[in-house]
Structures are given as C-alpha cells and as structure tokens.
Point group: C2
Chain length 688, copies 2
C-alpha cells in the first residue's frame, strides 16, 4: 500500500510559464535537479577557493587599513604595523582553531546560527542571523569596492569611474550566481590560486631583492613626507586608541573564516575532516600573506593615507594614491610591468570571488532562517530558484545601496564591516563552550572527556578573544560608522522576530480551529455559475459545474446594465439550457458586492452547505491582454475569498494567445545548452 | 417562471473588501445607487454651471490671447481686437445654433461621438472620441493654469509658485470628482454665477465710468509702449496671418460648448428642451462677456504680451504681467481693492470648475467608448466607481504631464488646445447634415420636412464654419504646438482601433470554438487536493472536495524537502483519512511544474475527464501577511490556468486578520455621512 502511495512520478521541467517567468528563465538558465546535488559536492581543492576566497582576499585591503589608521600619528607610528599585524594573526590562529571544533561538532551547515540557537536559544540565533545577513551585504560592498580600487591603481580610467565599476561588478557577480553555484565553483578556483601564488611570488621576490641581492627597493610613495594630523606628540592614551583602531581595521582579515563552517555539507566525505583541514589551509595562507605584505610594505616605506592631499607632502601634480598591494607590486616588479598588472588583475578577481562567497552564503542562510519561520516561508523551498534568486537580488541591491551611499570608499565601508562577523564569532564560540559543558555532563569515557575539555578550552579562548575584539571594534569604530551596522542588525532582528511571531500566531489559530472542528462533511453543495454572456466559455463553465453534480446548480448574472441583461435573459430562455438564471440587482453598478451578498444569504439559509462559485475566466498570453480581460472577475475572486464556507472555482478558457505563450516557453524548455548541462535526461518525464 | 427568475435581490454595498480597496473607499466616499440616479438629475439652474462653466470660463483667457497675438504687430494691430472678437462671437452663435439641433436629435448623451458614429461610421466616431479625450485633458491643463495665473495676478506668491499651485489645483479637482458628481454639482453653481455676475458688474461699472461719468480710466499697462517685433510695416499677408492666428486663439472661447450635448441625460425633463435653452443661455453669456472684456480692455489700453521684457518699454523694476481680467478689475475697481480680489477669486474658481467639467465628461465618454469595445471593457460598468475613478486618475495624470511639460504657461498650452474641439465640432456637424438628409429621404409630413430642412441648413452652416475654423487653427498653430495634439489624437485613435480589433478577434475565436463544440458533458471529474501539511485548512479542503463527490479523489503532495515529506506521509497514514496521498517527485525543488505535469498526464490518460485542483489557501487581512503566505499557491494557480480542461478551486481559510479586515470595512459601510447622503436606505439589504 505504502509503496503504491509513494510511487513517485518523474516530472521534468515543463516550460509552462507566464511571460515574466519566461524572462527569468532566460536570465537564470535551467534549474538544477536535486538528485544532481551530489554531483556538485566540492573536493577540497575546489572548496578552498569557493569558501576561502572571502577570508584570503581580505589581505588585499586589511594591511593597508592598518597603515592608513596609523598614518594619522605620523611616520613613527608605522613602526607599530608589524605588531598590529601579529595581533591580527594571533586572532586568526585562535578563530581558526575554534572553528575547527565547530565543523566537527556541527557538520550540518547551520554554522554559527545553528550553534547559537541550539546552545543559547533562539534570540542568540536570530542575533547571529541578523549579524551574518548584514555581514554578507558588507562583504559584497567592501570586496567589490576594493576590487575597483586595485584595478584603479593600475588603470586610472577605472579609478575615475570607480562607482560605476562597483555597480557593474556587483551586477556581474549577481548574474553569475543567478546561474547557480556549480559554474561559479569551477570559475573561482583558478583566480584564488592565482592570487595566492601571485602575491607569494611577489613577496618572495621582494624579500630576495632586499636581503639576498641587497637591492635598495623603495615604494613609489617612499619619497613623500607624512604630515601627522596632530603634530607628533600624541598622548599615550590617544596612541593606544589609535593602535587599537588600526588593529580593528586589520581584523577585517578575519571576515569570511566562518564561511566554511556554513558550508560543511558541500564538502566531499569525510565532510568535517575536509572542512577542518581546508580551514587550516585558509588560516595559514591568510597569515602568511598578511604578515608578508605588512612587513614588505614597511621595508619599502610604502605610505597609505586617508587623504593624500593633506596628509602627504612633496606630492606631484594630480597624484593618485595606489593600493598598498599595487605599490608593492610596482616596485618589486619594477622593469617588469606585466607582473604589476597581473597582481592588480588577480587581486580584483579574488575580491569579486569574495563577493561571490557572500552570494553563495546569503540565500542558504536565508532559507535556514525561513525554515525556522524567521523569514517568509517561500524562501525555504528552492522553487526552481525563484526564492533563492530573490535572496540574490536582494543582496545585490542592499550592497549597491551601501556602495553608493559611501561613494565606493573602502575605508568608509570598513568602518561598518566586521562588527557583524565578530558578533557571530563571539556568540558561536560562547555557544560552543556551552555545547561542550553540556556534553561533559553526560560523557563518561575518559578519552572523549579529555578531548571535550581540550575543545572547550579552545572555544573558551576563542570566545574571550573574539569577544575582546568585538568590544575593541565597537569602542574604536562605533561613532565612525559601526553604529549603522548595529542599527541595521537590530532592525533585522526585530523584523525576524515579528515574522516568527506572526507564523506562530497563525499556527495557534489553526490548532484552536482544529480543536473546535467537528469534522463533519458539508451537508450539501450549492453551485453558482457566474454568467455575463452566452459565449462558449460560460457554457462550458456550466457544463463543468454540472459535471461536479452539485445538489443545487444555478446560473447568476448581475444586472449592471439593464439593456444587456434583458437580452441575456431572453436568449437564455430561448436556449435549451435547463439551469435557472437568477438576475441580481446591482444598485451600485458593481459586480462583486451583490454576488457576495447573495452568497451570504445562501449561507445564512443553509449554514451547513458549502457554496461553490464558478467563474469563467479568459486566459491570455500577453500582459496587455490581461488589462482587457477578467478585471471584474479577478476583483470578484479576491472578495469572495473572504467569505467563509465558499469555494471559488476558476474555469479557465485558454485563448489562442495563451497557447502561443505556452508553446513559446515549451519550445524554450528544450533550449540548446540544456543537454550539455545534463538536462536532456529529464525531458522524457514530460512527454511520457 | 420568468417572474421568479427575474426576482431581483436588493443587494446593498457590503463592505467586504481587501485592504487597498478599503483605502480607496475612504478616499472616494460611498458609491451611488443607480436607482438614486434620478434624484441626481439636474435642473437648468444647476445644469448651466455644471456644463457651461467650461465654455463661460474660457472668456477668462480667450480675450487676452487675442491681444497677445496681435501685440506682435505693434499697438496699431490692437484695433483689430474687437473685430476678431466679433468673428469669435459669430462662430459661437453658429455653433450654439447647430448644437441645439444635436440635443434634440440625439438626447441619449452620446454627444458628438454618437452623432459621428451613427452617421459617418466607426472611424469618424473613434476620431471624435480621440479628439475629445485629448480635449478633456487640455481643458483641465489650460483651465487650471489660467486659474493659477489669475490668482497669481492678485497674489504674487502664487505667481512665483505657479506650477506648484497648478499641481495642487488638479489634485483638488480630481479628489472632488472621485467623491462624485452631485457634491460638485451643488459646489459649482455658486461660483459660476458669481463669476458671471462679478464680470458683468465690472464691465457695466467700467463703461458707466467711461461714458456716463466721463472718467479717464486707464489700465495699469496703459503707460507702457508696445515694441513691435517686426518694426511696424508688416506685409499684408503677414498681417492677415496674424489676425487669423489671434482669431484661432480667441476661438478657445468655444471650447466646452459641446459639453451640454454630452450631458442631456443629466437634465430634468423635458431633457432636450432644457438642454437647448441652457445652451442658449450659455451662448448669450459667453458672447456678452467676451465682447465686453475685449472692448473694455481696448478702451483702457490694457496690454498683454508674450514676453513683457522684450515687447514692452518703460517697464518698472521686476514688472509682473497681470491677466487682462485682473488689469480691468484693477482700474475699474480702483480705490476698491476688494472688487479686484473678488474678480480674481471667482475667475480662479470658475476655471477650476471648467477643469471639473472635463472630469465629469471624461469618464462618461470613456465608458461609452468601452461599451463599443474601444477601451478596456471594465471601464464600462461603473463597478462602484473603480473603473470611473481610474478614468479620473488617468485624466488628472495626463493633465499634470501637460502642465509640467509646458511649465504652466497658458499661452503655450493654448497652442495645443481647441484642435480637438473643432475636429469633433466639424465631424459632428457633418454627421448632423447626413442625419437630416437621411431622415428627409423617408419623411413625408411637410411641416416635419420644413423643420428638418431648416435644421439641416443650420448644421450645414455649422459644418462649414467649424471646418473653416479648424483649417485656420491648424494653419496658424500647427508648428507652434498643435501638432502635438494631433499626434496624441492619432496615437489614441490607433490604440482604440487595436483594442477593438483584439476584442473582435476574441469574439471570432469564441464563435469558432462554439461551432466546433460538441456540447457533451465531461465524462468524469477527477479531483486533486493539494496537500503540504495536515493542518486544518488542508483537512477542510479535503472534506469540501469530497463533498463535490468526484469520480476520483486523491491528495497530492510535492516532495520539495524529503524530511518534511516523510513526516507528512507517516502522519497521513496514522490518520483516519481514507483519501490516498500521492507524492510527486520535484527534481527541481519546484511546486508548480510537477503538479502541472501530473495533471497533464491525467488529462492524457482520460481526455474526456475534467480535472479539478483544490488548493487550500490562507486569506489574510494585511498586505504584508500576503508576503508571508500562499506565494507558491498563487504561482501554481496562475500556471494551472494555462492548462486546458482543468478547473482550479481555491478553498480559502480566513485567518482572524481577514475577518478583522472584513469587519473594518463592514463597520465603515454604515459610516456616518452615509445616511445624510441617503444611503441608509440600502443597508437593510445587507442584513436581510
């Protein structure tokens, strides 16, 4: 029995779709089959670029932000740079270590949200959710902006039209993602490795020149004098604050580390193991690159400031500040410009891929939140991408808003950034500590206990460390922008709680109703066919209605225009139709209300009956035809839905144009490219 | 039998409505009952202001346009003004005389459109339709602009923010009309009479001062020198052209005369008689006021030019040109400023009422055109105003567009104006001539024949006269703006023809289908209930579906998420539901397509069956709740409608919020004001 019930039909994509959807399809390409999901699991070599590009790419802007902040205190302060770098590296080590625990303990891909929810209750979870959503948006904004800046360092034209290129960049990444993760997976591995390799080569060759060949390398900015804002002597406190601030800017290098913990399910088996080692690689690369860049930049006396005009002296005419990476590449590959441009390109590419990471993560998080009823439900089922693409489009727009609002200035955006990440870092680490404590209560096996205790120590350290950083970040950046991020998080938090409460109240309402429900069938069915003419759609609606064998069947017409009503009635009587035609007066020349009142009366006379209203409807293929048809039918339907105990049945009549529309999209269904992408397989399902 | 069938139920307005509609209601007030239409029939004293304000108000700008054009040729040309005035008056006489024939021959209110259609075929009719639609829009634009100018002549602040006040004015009139004609009927009679009276008094007192008291009245502009563009000596031809042009501008005084012929049904009985005499009054008033203003203005040496800066010499600092009416009032009521302001106010008011006339006429014409299938059908039935209000809103927006495009410059807008009116004048007069000729063929009674012949002569003269004016107008104004009006008319014409053709083709398609139709009933009904949970709405949908006793009844769920599907299936089996549950695989995690393919398969196996898909639906009261519910259900419905032989049945489940929404609007239905406006009467219809 069960078997027969569970017999599943293979249903491929039928092209049946309305115009707008057809357009979407064009844009998005074919949806994937869930049974193909497996084939899209990622081996480590792909997973690293897919999930780590965000974290690694941040070394493209984190180091220069360190210098930028320090430069306020004059050149002397630059000597702090390596120490700040080391501090960031230390945090990185701790965070990576802690998250290795996460991926083992929570391999389901719920990531920080899941950890926080299970161990600290929904509020913590929703907080993390809000924080991460904001963080994703800012990742896109910051990465794309930084990409534009790096390309701009090589190509002045881009520099002059930075904002434009940011917009284009976001649009591009969004488009790529609307086409699906697999393409992007392959697409991304190459540039990520290219970036790592490229920067490595640059660093090594730079240091070799410095220390082995003993050349005197100098950054193009080495010659300029730093004009300290406060003429040198800063109070010790101010200095501390400054260093702390430059540290928080540097911590931008940590964003995206959590990405892997959200992506465990996408890894090949053994998922957790692979994820953990990928995490390790990620950490190693980030630290090496970060430190390398900081140290080399300092050796070459590279300078990077907020406003060159006021903070640097001895500048040439219309001086354009280059990113630190560009400055290094410039002097390291002096006499070999190709190298310089290569670095600029791969940097821009990996930054775009970092933005892409956010695009992969955002909709997934969205659907997790939707599953727990914190976001509209339809975001959960992937409904051939519609919901997911909504998420992608939303993310793109939000990021655009930020980029435009801050005129594509990395330094401005950095101020809002990383608050989100560290909120979720801290909460998830706290959650992990609780997690181990909970397990330890029941665990008896000494080895296991030892492992758990060790893990708990790691996470505890992580908690303290990330918590401290969060405080430092808020303290040093709140007024200069972080507050915006905080506000947005709070708003999101409240919204999600409201959505949740709504769903919950509906649930309760339904449970109550179910309790009161007596479960008896409606005693009789009273069918009403809405008639406005004697055209074939109406007649067929009548036939269909009769086919459902109702206890009462009557045709009803609303008298909005005496003349036409009279003709209708007379023609009705001449015809062989044996269904009585009732004419309802419409004192307000309205269609909907008289019908509703009539239905109400029927319900009043026989409350146990169920009333079915049959509405003949034209189905058209073009949007403008919609304007010419069924307007009143549509309004009537909406209104009738508010009536208890009434069913509304649309009896569609497909006009040729609708079939054309259907054919159009059917034809499109077996578009080329499909088979190449392995969708030919599903078409038999259609015509069988 | 017939009696029982025709038994009409009195259905009042039920307030049941969705949020958006509720808002509209708030804005519009209650709809009228058609059986109350009678009570809204207009006595002559009201009808005159209602329909004549347009025509009469145009004397507020027509005269000054005459001077404005002539001023190009220098002061000497001003001597032509009275003659131009007389010419316009002559045309007025002829047009009024001709239209008196119209109102007798075509009392149905179809107006020029009907006359043209019946006597010259649809194309002529549609041309008239297009012309009048454009004319209505321009009436609003010109009148409101002129109103702003006249107020501006008294209140500099308004003059400086002319455009703003025009926008507000249009919004105001639109709002008034969305509340219904009767209010405006009462509202308008007072100011119209005030204007007539006020200007009369001004003229009389002016002439008395001039000729009886022999005072030397001078307009404030009398002192300035007219700097002729072409230093005096114009070629005779150029002079003729100029006079002709000033004549066509003066003809603006004729716009709105046709309004009455469109409004005959709104008159008290004997409708035609009353309409005709109202027309006569209208003509008389217009001519007297027009000539009076022209002559007085000339006597006072008032000057009115396009650009005072270049065309007038001896101007004071920041001179602001006042409308001719304002100039007259200023000097006639010198020493009695109240008079001056009064004139400005009543002028502005009647001009707003003229705009109002267009707002009354536009939707009526729209519904006539819709009835003949030249515009979307829903514009025909007044569907408690929704359609009509759409018309009103559209008119308001179109007028706004023109006002903004021409920066609220009367003189600019005048160039586009009156082309439309004279197109319809000419066509309708031509139609009338044919009308009489046709009747004369059959008519035998000599008296009748004599009357017809006389009538035909009148209309023939009208035809020739209006035709000539049309040519003159086009010749003198085409390049300076009239072409825009022409283009818009052509576009409207084409659009309406396309709409008509669409409806026609649908008709044919349906007739064909009806011919092919074998008329047999569907052999069996196959009902499918869409299931996604075991909540009460689903269960009730199941019960309802069973109540319709289908031959086959099955529950179907789409497997978008394995886990939840499995739980659903197991709970289903535990439950006592004896309807089999089919699980449809959804390889693309989509809901719609698998269902559609499944339905197609059923249709393929049994083409004679009719498939009914039952969709449980939540009905919510707030717009944002819509976002949280039934998104996929809605998409599925739209898609299913494209399937032949499928009925889609919504089984609504009303959540509390929906009932609240319903209650809200129910409560609103017996709002205060209603009874005062005489709607209490209809409420019993609801609760019986």
């Amino acid at each position: 029995m069960d078997v027969t019930r569970r017999r599943a039909y293979c249903c491929g994509v039928s092209g049946l779709t309305t115009g707008s959807i057809a357009v979407k399809r064009l844009l998005l390409g074919k949806p994937y089959r869930s049974d193909r999901l497996n084939s899209r699991l990622l081996p480590k070599r792909i997973a690293l670029p897919v999930f780590a590009s965000d974290a690694i790419s941040s070394v493209a802007y984190a180091p220069q932000e360190i210098f930028l902040v320090l430069s306020v205190a004059g050149i002397s302060a630059y000597s702090f740079a390596p120490w700040v770098g080391l501090a960031v590296a230390a945090v990185m080590v701790v965070v990576v270590a802690s998250y290795r625990q996460n991926v083992y303990a929570y391999p389901s891909g719920g990531g920080d949200y899941e950890v926080a929810t299970t161990n600290m209750g929904p509020n913590a979870g929703v907080t993390v959710g809000a924080a991460l959503l904001v963080d994703y948006v800012l990742t896109v904004a910051v990465s794309v902006t930084a990409a534009a800046e790096n390309i701009g360092s090589a190509v002045p034209f881009v520099h002059e039209h930075k904002l434009l290129f940011c917009v284009l960049g976001i649009a591009l990444v969004a488009a790529v993602n609307l086409r699906g993760i697999r393409e992007s997976g392959v697409l991304m591995s190459v540039p990520t490795y290219a970036f790592i390799l490229g920067v490595m080569v640059m660093l090594v060759w730079g240091f070799v020149q410095l220390f082995v060949l003993g050349r005197d390398l100098q950054a193009s900015t080495a010659g300029y004098e730093l004009v300290a804002e406060q003429q040198n002597d800063l109070t010790a406190l101010a200095m501390v604050f400054l260093v702390a601030r430059s540290f928080s800017s540097g911590c931008a290098a940590l964003t995206g580390v959590e990405a892997i913990s959200n992506g465990v399910p996408a890894f090949r088996k053994p998922k957790s193991r692979n994820a953990a080692s990928t995490l390790l690689m990620l950490g190693a690369f980030s630290i090496v690159l970060l430190m390398g860049i900081v140290v080399l930049a300092q050796k070459l006396h590279a300078k990077y400031v907020i406003d060159p005009g006021t903070e640097l002296s001895g500048l040439p005419e219309n001086y354009q500040q280059k990113s630190v990476l560009a400055q290094l590449a410039e002097s390291v590959f002096a006499g070999f410009p190709a190298g310089f441009y290569l670095i600029a390109v791969v940097t821009a590419l990996i930054l775009l891929l970092a933005a892409n990471t956010a695009f992969n993560g955002f909709p997934v998080l969205g659907s997790v939140l939707a599953q727990d009823r914190y976001l509209p439900r339809q975001l959960h089922t992937r409904g051939d991408r519609l919901a997911f693409s909504n998420g992608i489009v939303f993310l793109a727009l939000a990021a655009l808003a930020f980029v435009v609002a801050f005129d594509a200035e990395v330094t401005q955006l950095i101020q809002l950034y990383i608050v989100g990440v560290f909120v979720s870092f801290t909460l998830s680490q706290t959650g992990m500590v609780r997690h181990w404590t909970r397990l330890l209560r029941t665990e008896t096996d000494p080895d296991a206990r030892r492992r758990m205790v060790r893990a708990r120590v790691v996470n505890a350290v992580g908690m303290v460390m990330t918590g401290t950083v969060l405080v430092v970040v808020l303290a040093t950046k709140f007024t200069s922008g972080a507050w915006i991020a905080v506000v947005v998080m709070v708003v999101l938090f409240v919204l999600m709680k409201l959505v949740h409460r709504h769903y919950r109240s509906v649930e309760l309402e339904l449970e109550e109703a179910a309790a009161e429900d007596d479960g008896v069938l409606p005693s009789r069915t009273h069918s009403i066919v809405l008639v406005s003419s004697m055209l074939i759609p109406t007649l067929r609606a009548l036939r269909y209605a009769r086919a459902t064998r109702p206890d009462v069947l009557e045709a009803v017409t609303v008298n909005v225009d005496d003349r036409s009503t009279r003709t209708l009635v007379s023609r009705w009587e001449e015809s062989d139709i044996d269904v009585p035609l009732k004419v309802i007066a419409s004192p307000y020349r309205d269609v909907a209300r008289p019908v509703i009142n009539y239905v109400r009366r029927i319900r009043r006379d026989a409350p146990r009956d169920v009333v079915t209203v049959f509405i003949p409807e034209y189905v058209v293929g073009r949007w403008w035809e919609q304007i010419l048809h069924n307007q009143s039918a549509l309004r009537l339907k909406t209104r009738l839905l508010f009536e208890p105990g009434v069913m509304v049945t649309s009896v569609p009549w497909q006009l040729d144009s609708s079939n054309r529309a259907a054919r159009r999209s059917d034809a499109q269904y077996i578009a080329p490219g499909d088979t190449r992408r392995g969708f030919g397989a599903s078409s038999p399902g259609d015509d069988r």
